[in-house]
Structures are given as structure tokens and as C-alpha cells.
């Protein structure tokens, strides 16, 4: 794969990833487009610019680790990993069908280069902390990146992990909250509000970075700030738009977990370009 820090090039990859997401979920007739589209810049910038990884050598011991804790956004991860060369691009549309490696939620049994099988919300940050601790013990430069949903952090285990990370000064981990403000049943503020979210993380001892999570330049800056922060864990509150890039999906709770129709797909692809 060809890594790049060029914003224009990264945006072009994001565009490709968005097309994959919409197409594969349409073909599958089920899946989660909203939270996949909101995380495109977060995941693409990581894999193509920031992560120390090698698709040709996925078991490289000192690689960085990536965990998609909000596993229902699997299409964004599958699309990015396929574009990196981990898995075939041609079969992305087999998403959610029998025998496909592209299972409904990320499954290490089918894609061994996944660092974790996820789908049950709340477990990824703890897993990432365990990997970060192993790296520190081995004096490895490995950094760990965990993408959480904003709805997901209603799970209590996230806050157990938050306590652990700060207490043990785990500074080789970055938690990224895809703060798209919507969860399955509607707006987060109406179901179990998280405000004041930044203050909560600060109170738990984390270095908080806030930025536009759908802006490649802002996302790059956030990753750089996290890497430069020593002595405490960092969290990037990525302000994103659910369904980003497709006007009728944006900020629409309906598209948390509903596939577009063929007609909607055609419209979406036209918009994405």
C-alpha cells in the first residue's frame, strides 16, 4: 500500500471508501450506514497516514493496533482495510452473506488481521489498554487506537477503562469518540445525554482533544497532538455528522441501522461523486 499525508489524496480515498460503504450496505440489504459514513475520515486517515502497519506483514509484532469498538461500523473498516490491501476489494459486496469474510460485525476468525472481534458495545477500550500494556512491557513503540461510538460510551465498562488508563498513565493509547450525536433509537441527548462529555473525560484524567472529525486536516492534527502527549492517555472527541456525505442520510437517525434502497444508493453515489 501507498501511505500518504497529502490531504487531497486522503480525501480521494475517503470518497472511494464512502462509495464502498453505500454500495456494500445496499447490496447486503442491511447494515449501519450512518455510523460508518461518520467515521470515514477518522479511519482512512489512520490507516493511510498515521498507523505503523504493513498489510504484507500483518503479524509484525511492533505494529500499531486498531480496534473498531463500535463494531457495527464494520463497512468503514472493511472498505479501508480492503483499500490497504488486507482483503479483496472485489468481494466487499458480499457483506453479511454466508461464508463471506465480511461478517456483520468484525470477526477475527474470518479476517485474522483484525485486532479484535467486536460488535457488543463497550469492550474495545479495555482490550486496547491490555494491548497498550503489553507493548509497554515489551518496550515496543506500538500505539493503540480505539474507535468508540458516542452512544457506546453509555456502557459502564468504558468508564472502568477510563479510570484504568489514567491511573496507570497509559500514554500509548488514543480513544477516538465518533461523536455523531445519534444512536439507534434517536438523538443521544434524548436517550442518555453525555454532556458535558469533554469535562467527563478530563475528570477521569484524560487529555482531551476536540476537532471536526470529518475534516482530514483537523483529524491529522488531532492524531499528532495525541502522539505528542506523554504521561496520560488521550481521547479525541471527533465531532462528526452521522451519515456524512449523503444529504438525506446526514443527521437522520433512520439511517443508523437501515440499508438504502437501490434508488437511494444511486442518488447517494451521485452525491459522493
Amino acid at each position: 500500500m501507498q501511505k500518504t499525508s497529502n490531504v487531497r489524496e486522503l480525501e480521494q480515498i475517503c470518497q472511494k471508501v464512502r462509495r464502498h460503504i453505500v454500495t456494500m450496505i445496499t447490496e447486503a440489504k442491511s447494515g449501519h450506514p450512518g455510523g460508518s459514513l461518520s467515521a470515514v475520515e477518522i479511519v482512512t486517515t489512520l490507516f493511510f497516514d498515521v498507523l505503523r502497519h504493513d498489510p504484507a506483514n500483518p503479524t509484525w509484532a511492533e505494529r500499531d493496533r486498531f480496534i473498531l469498538s463500535k463494531g457495527h461500523a464494520a463497512p468503514v473498516l472493511y472498505s479501508v482495510m480492503a483499500e490497504c490491501g488486507y482483503t479483496p476489494v472485489e468481494t466487499l459486496n458480499s457483506l453479511r452473506t454466508i461464508d463471506s469474510i465480511y461478517q456483520g460485525h468484525p470477526d477475527r476468525r474470518f479476517i485474522p488481521s483484525l485486532e479484535a472481534s467486536t460488535g457488543s458495545l463497550g469492550v474495545g477500550l479495555s482490550l486496547g489498554l491490555g494491548m497498550a500494556e503489553a507493548a509497554r512491557l515489551d518496550k515496543s513503540p506500538t500505539r493503540v487506537y480505539v474507535v468508540l461510538g458516542d452512544g457506546e460510551i453509555q456502557e459502564g465498562q468504558i468508564w472502568e477503562a477510563a479510570m484504568y488508563g489514567a491511573f496507570h498513565k497509559v500514554d500509548n493509547i488514543l480513544a477516538i469518540v465518533d461523536d455523531n450525536l445519534i444512536q439507534l433509537d434517536g438523538w443521544v441527548k434524548d436517550i442518555m445525554a453525555l454532556d458535558p462529555l469533554a469535562d467527563k473525560w478530563r475528570a477521569f484524567g484524560w487529555h482531551v482533544i476536540e476537532a471536526n472529525g470529518n475534516d482530514v486536516t483537523a483529524v491529522q492534527k488531532a492524531y499528532a497532538e495525541a502522539a505528542a502527549t506523554k504521561g496520560k492517555p488521550s481521547v479525541f472527541l471527533a465531532h462528526t455528522i452521522k451519515g456524512k456525505g449523503v444529504s438525506f442520510m446526514e443527521n437522520n437517525p433512520k439511517f443508523h441501522g437501515m440499508a438504502p434502497t437501490k434508488e437511494e444508493c444511486a442518488l447517494a453515489l451521485k452525491e459522493i461523486g
Partner: protein, 321 residues
């Protein structure tokens, strides 16, 4: 001479202490061994490891769910990771994490639950683990071990460390009778026949193995010759030993410090049904919780002793005739 004449059954250490000693030795022989604990290091005996290898000990606080997944992360990164707590806490509060971050992705984590069963005594039912075997056995790919004494616990913990699969090991709080000598060989998945007898087989795990051995004497005096099997590995269960006992003795009693509805007994029954159907009786905890008291009082009140095992065996013998 009594059938169990060769077993003195002298009081030895608790299996949790043997676990702590085994961890310490593992720590010395392998720098890859790491341990997580949830504010019970002094009770689970992981403090022995913690004292010698503080850099490889991860204090997780009272947060078992987080501890299980942190252990899974360490294991996924190639560490031989142990997580320990009271069995009631690590299995019940950590079950979701054991399922999705350990069993399903096949992560090589070692889970140790101490203070199992009702023999913890005074602390009462909130801390008593009478469903852990059932829960652990329902995690696909898990190996489940319940050692009977300090010798077997030490050996099986060490063997589990080098097994390439997730493992649950059940240990107890109170001192228990020592059954084995240091030269005994233990193999995960291979049960141990402790006495031979043609009339009936008692299959047990954990502290009930010693009670089964005591029951052998009582039953021998009544003319009933009993085979006792220590089924220290509950999953995968030793099918050959069960099928053989069913065929050769025609009656099987399973005894355990656990709910009979979800423990070893139902797993033995499955094998018996699939091989050589025979009379079976189940001894253990019924569909209720125990209460506080000294361990001895609790074990007596809830019939977790040799007398009750012998009574169950007599029932089986009646049905056999």
C-alpha cells in the same frame, strides 16, 4: 481394609494458595507470564506474584469486566495472561467480556476464580459461586478445570499456562484434604481413578473428591464397592472414563459443590446417555442459595459432605437392583 486406606486425607493448603504458589513459580520460569487482579490480590494469593514481579502485575481495581478485557488484550498481544478474582465476580460480572473478548475470538486467557462453592462460609451467598462451572462450560472453546487439592491445583495451573486455549480454573477458599503425593501425574482432560469398585462409581470435582473418598469407607462397610473418579477437567470431560464406569459399575453418582442443574453432573449424564445408559444420581446444590455460617456449619446444613454422598449412593444402588 477400607477402600480408601491409601488416602490419609490430611488437611492441606487451600487450592487458592496452591494457585498463588504456581503463579509465582510460573513468573520465575517465564517472563511472559502476566497477572491482572481486581482488588483481591491478598485473597486470591496473586499477591505472591505481585510482590516478586510488580511490573508484570496489573491492578485493575474493583472492575472485573474491565479486568477480563485488559487480560484479553494482553493475551492477544502474546502474553500468558492470568486474570483472577472471586469466582462469583469474575464469572458473573465478566461473563459478557469472557464471551466476546475471549471465547469468540479464541484468545488465550487464563481465568482463575477463587472462593468457589458454598464452603467460603461466613461471607454468604453474594460471594458464593455455585454457577461458575455452568457458565464457564458454556463459553465455546474454554477448558474448565476444578482441582481437588493443593497438589493437583499447583500442577494443573502450571499445565494450563502452557495450554494454547482459554482456560477457567476453579479454586476454593478453605483448606482442603490433600489427596495426592508429589509424584502424581496430572494431564488436562484425563481424569484420575482413585479407588476401584464394581458396584457403583462416584464422580466428583473440587473439594467433593475428598468427601467421596470418605464415603467409600462407609459404603464398603455396607458391602458396596465404590469406584471414585476425580474429574478435575470438566471440559473437555473424560468421556472414556465415564463410558467405562457406566459399563463396568452400572451406576454413577456425581457430587459437586455447585448447582446440580448446570454442573459436572449433567455433562456426565450426556456422555452416559450417548454411551452406556445406567442408573445415575446427582448430588450438589439444589435450586436455591445457601447462607452464612462457619464453613463446616454451612457444609453440614446444605448436606455437602460424605454422609450425603453416601446417602445418594444408596439411592442409586436401590434403583440399580
Amino acid at each position: 481394609m477400607a477402600a480408601n486406606g491409601k488416602y490419609e486425607l490430611k488437611l492441606g493448603a487451600a487450592t487458592r494458595e496452591a494457585f498463588g504458589n504456581a503463579l509465582l513459580e510460573l513468573g520465575k520460569e517465564n517472563p511472559n507470564v502476566v497477572v491482572c487482579d481486581a482488588d483481591l490480590a491478598k485473597s486470591t494469593f496473586t499477591h505472591l506474584f505481585q510482590k516478586s514481579f510488580p511490573e508484570r502485575f496489573f491492578s485493575c481495581g474493583i472492575a472485573e469486566a474491565n479486568m477480563v478485557s485488559i487480560g484479553a488484550g494482553l493475551a492477544a498481544s502474546g502474553k500468558i495472561a492470568f486474570v483472577a478474582s472471586f469466582s462469583a465476580f469474575v464469572l458473573n460480572k465478566g461473563f459478557e467480556q469472557l464471551r466476546v473478548t475471549v471465547a469468540y475470538p479464541k484468545v488465550n486467557l487464563k481465568v482463575v476464580g477463587t472462593h468457589s462453592g458454598i464452603s467460603i462460609g461466613e461471607d454468604g451467598p453474594s460471594q458464593m459461586s455455585v454457577e461458575d462451572i455452568g457458565l464457564a462450560c458454556s463459553l465455546a472453546g474454554f477448558t474448565v478445570i476444578s482441582p481437588a487439592d493443593e497438589v493437583s491445583c499447583f500442577a494443573l495451573v502450571k499445565a494450563a499456562a502452557y495450554l494454547d486455549s482459554p482456560v477457567f480454573i476453579r479454586a476454593g477458599r478453605v483448606k482442603v484434604a490433600t489427596i495426592y503425593t508429589a509424584d502424581q501425574n496430572f494431564e488436562i482432560g484425563k481424569s484420575i481413578q482413585l479407588t476401584d469398585g464394581k458396584d457403583l462409581t462416584i464422580i466428583a470435582h473440587g473439594m467433593m473428591v475428598a468427601e467421596a473418598l470418605k464415603a467409600v469407607d462407609v459404603l464398603a462397610a455396607e458391602g458396596i464397592a465404590v469406584r471414585v473418579i476425580d474429574m478435575h477437567t470438566i471440559k473437555p470431560v473424560d468421556r472414556d472414563a465415564i463410558a467405562k464406569a457406566a459399563a463396568e459399575t452400572g451406576a454413577i453418582v456425581v457430587t459437586e459443590e455447585h448447582f446440580t442443574a448446570t454442573g459436572l453432573g449433567v455433562r456426565v449424564a450426556q456422555v452416559v446417555a450417548e454411551t452406556n445408559p445406567c442408573v445415575m444420581e446427582f448430588h450438589g446444590m439444589g435450586d436455591f442459595y445457601a447462607e452464612s455460617g462457619t464453613p463446616e456449619q454451612v457444609l453440614t446444613k446444605f448436606h455437602m459432605n460424605a454422609e450425603a454422598v453416601a446417602a445418594t449412593a444408596r439411592r442409586a444402588m436401590k434403583r440399580k437392583k
